[in-house]
Amino acid sequence: MRANRWRRFSDWDERPLRLDRFAAEDAENGFAAFSSPADPEPHVAVEAGRIAGMDGVAEADFDMIDRFIARYHLDPEIASEAMAMPSPEIARMLVDMTVPREALVRLAHGMTPAKLAEAVAELNALEIAFAYSKMRARKTPGNQAHVTNAKDDPLQLAADAAIAVALGFDEIETTMRVSRNAWSNAVACCVGAAVGRAGTLFQCSSEEAEELQIGMAGFSSYAETVSVYGTEKSFVDGDDTPWSKAFLAAAYASRGIKMRCTSGAGAELLMGFHERKSLLYLEARCLCLQRAMGVQGTQNGGIDGAPLTATVPGGMRELMAENLIAVWLDLECASGNDARPTESEIRVGAKIMPYLIAGSDLICSGFGSILKYDNSFNPSLLNGEEIEDYLVLQRDFEADGGLTPIAEEDALDLRVRAIDAISAVFEELGLAAPTAEMKGSVAAASGSADTESFTPREVVAISEAIRARGITVVDVIRALDARGFRQEAENLLQLVKLRISGDYLQTSAIVRDGRVISAINDPNDYLGPGTGYRVDEARRAEIAAIRDVLTRETVIDQEEEYARKAATGLRLKTMGPAGRGEDPREVTVGISPAFGRKLFRTLGGLALSDVLSEIVAGIAEGGGTARLVRMGHTADTSFLGLSAARLSGSGVGIGLQAKGTAVIHHADRLPHNNLELFSNAPVTRLEHYRQLGFNAARHAAGEIPDPVVVPTRGEAMGARYHARAALIHAVETSLVGDGAAPEDIALDPEGPST
């Protein structure tokens, strides 16, 4: 009978990947990543030093976006030169390490959106990542966190902000479940972010006017909610124009607040005004517009549209390409990697890798430092659940993703400090009086589901009071100082003081060690290997210091601890030099140098005393006689087995390493051509060792028994065993002596091991 389905498809149906949906390419309806028949040919017309036409549109027909780009972005003195260069040639310059960044930035000043899109479309994903690494504005990479929770609980916000700061995030961003809680969220996060160190920039994503007011009260230091769009209709639908947004950009700067715009592929498609253009072309318009407005940077790379963009062929490559245009236009780039575009952990890891390796001003424009359900922006590509995965990726690739591991004991201290600090501020300002129970529940909580703290209604009252009473950062600093949080008060004052000089308004500015670094004083100077950003020794040590790392000492300590606690019952007595046996039924078991001396259990956790007993019993069951021999000249399974076989009266021997790997060998065989091999020590159970002994005895009797099958689904090769296996083997080999002769040993239940 013919089957109606290959069952592999049923297996595939169960994978998380299949929860993702994919869209067919359909340029007519806006589902095209890199090009659409409706995209214009790159073109510019310069007349009398003025831009008289751009990308197929004459000046008289310019829409608002065209007009703003032509007026403020395009440099007529460069446009003719840049537009005349073939796009493939420009693309090669982007990946040519000998062409300096500045030369390409200069050309971009004369390139239209269609030209920029055409040039980056020449590059494959690897080339885009490389060009991004070369073109990004600031040399030192950074990262940004989301700090939110499902209850808008200020105690948890403060604790989580302190953790985000300790992890090394350069910026933290909050938003609210209840919009009226903006002021409470802002105070809680800015106090929490002052715990531990100074200088982490903070923003409260809120309604435009309120966000600016929160910034003016000194609580927040940057904004990135100023969205722009690639078609006129979506711009107007978003209730703004290039002029209104540019006005807002100036307003933020006039208040000393760092600002970047937001745009990303898929926004126009989501809003229904895509004009049948490709995602990349529309995004190129957004980015030219942003440079035209004079903002220092952009939050770009899909953002809210990333999950939609990821449904089309080449979508992820497109997100990388638009980020490349952003940095080519000399904008700071908070490069997306926020909205989670997939249910597949493989796609998540693949998505972040190019950015982690290339570096970025802010690798994520919102890494969820909190658990997924607490992320009020919606889950990020990476969230609190996955922070350690990310830390390990940094360590694997020796790539600086902007984060630093934190020690478990420090984390709890920081949380308690932050909770105490915000509680003191609330008490001092007469806003609320958190109880010890509330504080305790938040300190230990992984997420808001575990807390007994403020209710959203109580938070509304706190937030309204902060707003209505006109409380500013000065009041908060004074309250911290008055209640003994002097360092936190200093840290917060230091951050607010940065406004006076305006240094952090320049492109790609962040604060490290109390100092502003930006594209001005830390410019990306990549010109090939050995240049640009490099992970130095100190930073490498920080990145490598993840928790729970095995060392040779910890393995030996653990073994001794095990031997002491488990009272292994393994008593081996050395009897003297081992000679060739005479008994034709004899099966010799050759154990490894550290067996029962320094190592006491297999990788599968079995006591070596039990393993040895089972093998001996199995040999007896098979009609054989067991003899134990300790090898000193080798720790290798094959040679343990072969050496044992050559001492055996029957010519059949067993080699047994302390980690549990075993072999049945024969004296006449080549070293690696054994009778049976038991290589999957982590899944080998006592019954298998007994069967091993039995089979060895049957081999000794001249039979060919059915080989022992140790069932495995591949778990024995799991990554959890590798480091331990290598360290255990190092303990074995350290006891190997050249030419050391085998010694007979006896199980001696009474005496100590010798």
């Binding site: 435009e208 002029w243 006005f247 006039s254 000065v474 100082d481 607010v496 006076i500 240094d503 001005i520």
Partner: protein, 141 residues
């Protein structure tokens, strides 16, 4: 300000701290926690000045970022414009808020005459012209 700053003067707080002064003239070393505790420092002392923005514009221009420099220069003109006026002009620039170009032209005149914000005024007038061409004075809500 006769001297023109360059990237070499950046960051100003480190390289040229004598130039970093708050709205009421206080230098960075005068703004301390103790001064704040005494009430000798207020929020006003922690805000940016038009001079600071013009200096950052010079630095941005020297780093070949002319559009960023222009934004800082427009911002310098808004430093002394009260928040409610800033927000009112922003609101008027949003689609459909102004009922005709005249509303924007009047806002531009106010910025120029009351606050000396010449660049910003020209910018708003430009918007009036573009909005007229693109039919943005239509009723929206």
């Amino acid at each position: 300000m006769t001297e023109r700053l360059t990237a070499q003067d950046y960051p100003i707080a480190e390289k040229r701290p004598e130039l970093a002064r708050g709205r009421q003239g206080k230098g960075l070393d005068e703004i301390t926690l103790d001064a704040l505790g005494r009430g000798a420092v207020a929020l006003e002392d922690l805000t940016i000045t038009a001079d600071a923005l013009r200096r950052q514009a010079e630095i941005a221009r020297s780093a070949n970022r002319p559009t960023l420099a222009e934004n800082f220069e427009r911002a310098a003109e808004l430093v002394d414009v009260p928040q409610d006026v800033v927000m009112a002009v922003y609101e008027l620039l949003r689609p459909g808020r102004a009922k005709s170009a005249q509303d924007l032209v009047e806002a531009a005149a106010m910025l120029r005459e009351t606050y000396g914000a010449d660049r910003m005024a020209a910018f708003v007038e430009e918007a009036a012209d573009v909005y007229e061409r693109r039919g943005l004075f239509a009723f929206r809500f």
